[in-house]
Subunit: 146 residues, 8 copies
């Protein structure tokens, strides 16, 4: 039986690609979904579909319609959500996705480096699993599938 | 009929106190709840109740149990949630509370300065109301109560 | 025990005022809520709170944030929803409120003149009660309270 | 992974047929469902199954039982709902389906020409995505599936 | 703290009146609601509000709109439902109300004479409490309130 | 796409067998489930699994555990429920299943002969579709699948 | 604003009485509910209401109908649940009540002595707050009410 | 159509292995899931993934994150839950899983020896089926699948 996993979190490096590769190598029956990983495409999608917007605020608003559509559809189908926080960005989307998972009754695996323990303490306390690396998150899914 | 409002957001200035004061001056029938506003008490509450913890990580974890208890009880009772973001902090708690409100079907009033439009665009797109100041949030509640 | 009633529907005549008056005369313990009935205020509220918008589309969008906030808060509290359709307008808000009530599990009293039977047939078929005048809706509430 | 899409909206032209064709050409894994598109069959279905009704009101009521059955079953299975409004009709069914989707937590893509911005502003404000043409709605689904 | 109790079941004798009287004598803080107990009024209410209907089938249908409105509003508010079955009638409304309570997560007290054990066995097996007399149901509520 | 249909109702004739046969002849993609149709097995199942019970009351109670298990599992999976009432029996199980479907948000097709219009009027008023024969119910499903 | 608290857990000592007393001394606006604390009454209640049962198994079953009725009604009304485990008993009711609270979305305060850490680790991990004494649970509620 | 069954309960003997073997022999279309059955692995999993913990309390807490992740994911997918209690252990996890199933609306088959009737009476009273051996639970599932 396959599990559907939503990979929330930063889109500034290739952690999802690595995650997919490792899941494949371990032969885990996971269907991995996530946000648009091409950052420019993610910011431009509003104007690409709806056309030129009057200013940057409306450009952002238009893009977020489509990014939220994508997130809502895949998160609704997910059996479990992984949310990865990194040191560099504010990543409010990640926090939004993580809280949405918790409030929807979907188990959340929170991945965050040690340096973020304090600012993420309330979110961590409500997550199902808290680890420091994506590899540990993969270990957790492998354990579920044993 | 009174409305219960949860005031999520940063606890580093006195915006809630001002909000309460203005609501009172306008005679609005609002019951205003929120997180612990004494920052030290918020960080210490775990050790104050459970005793000395082995290290800062567990100290944070202990505190978050009680802060989350408080948030969950009052948010569950709220008719509407106001989430205020400021320029300075990462405020992942605020994002968590905002997303919890959305996913619970509670209307969310997002308050954020113009400078945060881009990083908060996805959250803003799912909020019921987006404004820039707490005074505008109060105007919105006054309109509901007309 | 009081019942909370949300009065959805057109805001172009004074049917709510008459409804309130008659409920009072019959001594029914009803708390009556509804949308903003001052039509200009309803259309202007976005700019009154958020300031001048760049064009009529954004002006409408801003107004609807606050009108929806009001509707969501009071409909969530309602025990029963009355939706009145008249001959003249498209009244998609009324249809939206009526369907929201049905899908929320709240009983709906649909009020519509005989001339609207055909276009409203699917909505009528899912309503709890279908009548032709507000007075009949009031009779229905009186029956519940006997 | 396939997505199930419910195509709510007017049944007076062949927009669904075109939509299906284009989805196929782009190779999108979509299962497209919708109301009965044969308008006469939609109006007659009550009498075709239950037999002759005493008058047009009961004829309409009988038809709506079966049309609502169809809509409820497919909307319940849908991952996302597209609601198309055109200039000509009152289309209260479309508004009902759109609001049902929102209240069910299903993301809604609202398609409406520029001329309908004002009367649809409240519904638009609660939709996940608002566009002007079915092609843009298809672009949005393609983006989700990238 | 008061409990709201919905008294489902036959409307052919005065068991509710006796129940109310005994609850009062024992000083139990119960708010007791139920269907219309005047049987003629219950059957006539459709025509009394909507006017003369074309035949008995439509007369029944009209009455049931208002009886269902009443039941839905009060059952939604109830903390607990009592459903009384007697030997004489088919009482499908009682079975409907009992199953609605179970499926809504409201505890159900089923009252039925020994002679109805076999036909009611599946309903009894899902009730929270099964007794043979209204007095026993009152004892159960008194126990809850101790 | 297949639809799962739960066939609630009397188990005293072979209407389900005929229904299955006709669905097959029409090539409808339906998965048809229902209660145990062997009446003796249905009454004996408690003692067959749990062993001899002390008296008929406990024998009935034991049987109903397993009959309810079966009903709950298949109804939960059903997309639509058909409930058939006949003239002869009290059929409280059928009323229980019908109300459970309504309260779960599953569309209900009620099948009942004309002679049962009055006692079933409240249940009929909340069903999605009301017809008089199983063939009409099959027509309704065929219409959904067109 | 008062909070309703359900005090789940063992009924073999007077911890609830002490809890009530201390809450009163501290002036906390708490409404405290819980199971029947008279152990004999709790075991006898089935026969006291329904009469002599054939054997101890049915006696237990009868009692549990009424104890569960009580628990379900008050837990449903509670804002927060406290579950106290002691060293001596198996207390499966306490575990049932605690898990019911978690699954209902009600925050749970788990109170257990250090010696029970290992067998309660999975329950503790899902609780909102974990402490060792009722006094600490009261501190937690006082913090919420600050 | 396959049914997914979650096998909650003690992990100290091989009852699940026997259950799987017998289900296979009878050709029942069951997908059987459950907790980690290797007891040492279950206790060690926290440190195996997260690394050495400071003391046994944190070791237990770490393990329970992963065990709860596994339980939540599979229970959410289950159509029915079997919970087996044996004489020897406190098995609070089993009670937690059983109550979670009840509160989630999933039917529960409780398996417990006669000696545990009294301490499990409240849980038994809310289960859908209560039997004494795993073989009887398998009989129940076979009956559902007839």
């Amino acid at each position: 039986m396959e599990l559907i996993v939503y990979l929330a979190g930063q889109i500034h490096d290739d952690w999802r690609e690595q995650f997919r590769q490792k899941a494949k190598e371990r032969g885990l029956p996971l269907i991995l979904k996530g946000p648009q990983e091409n950052h420019d495409r993610s910011d431009d999608i509003g104007e690409q579909i709806k056309g030129k917007q009057p200013n940057p605020v409306y450009r952002d608003q238009a893009a977020s319609e489509f990014n939220n559509l994508r997130t809502r559809i895949w998160m609704e189908k997910a059996d479990v959500v992984i949310a990865l926080f990194g040191e560099k960005y504010r990543q409010w989307n990640t926090a939004m996705d993580a809280a949405t998972a918790i409030q929807s009754g979907k188990p959340l695996i929170l991945v965050r480096p040690e340096g973020l323990v304090h600012p993420l303490k309330e979110l961590a306390q409500r997550a199902q699993v808290v680890v420091e690396t994506p590899d540990q998150a993969l270990d957790a899914l492998a354990y579920v599938l044993e």
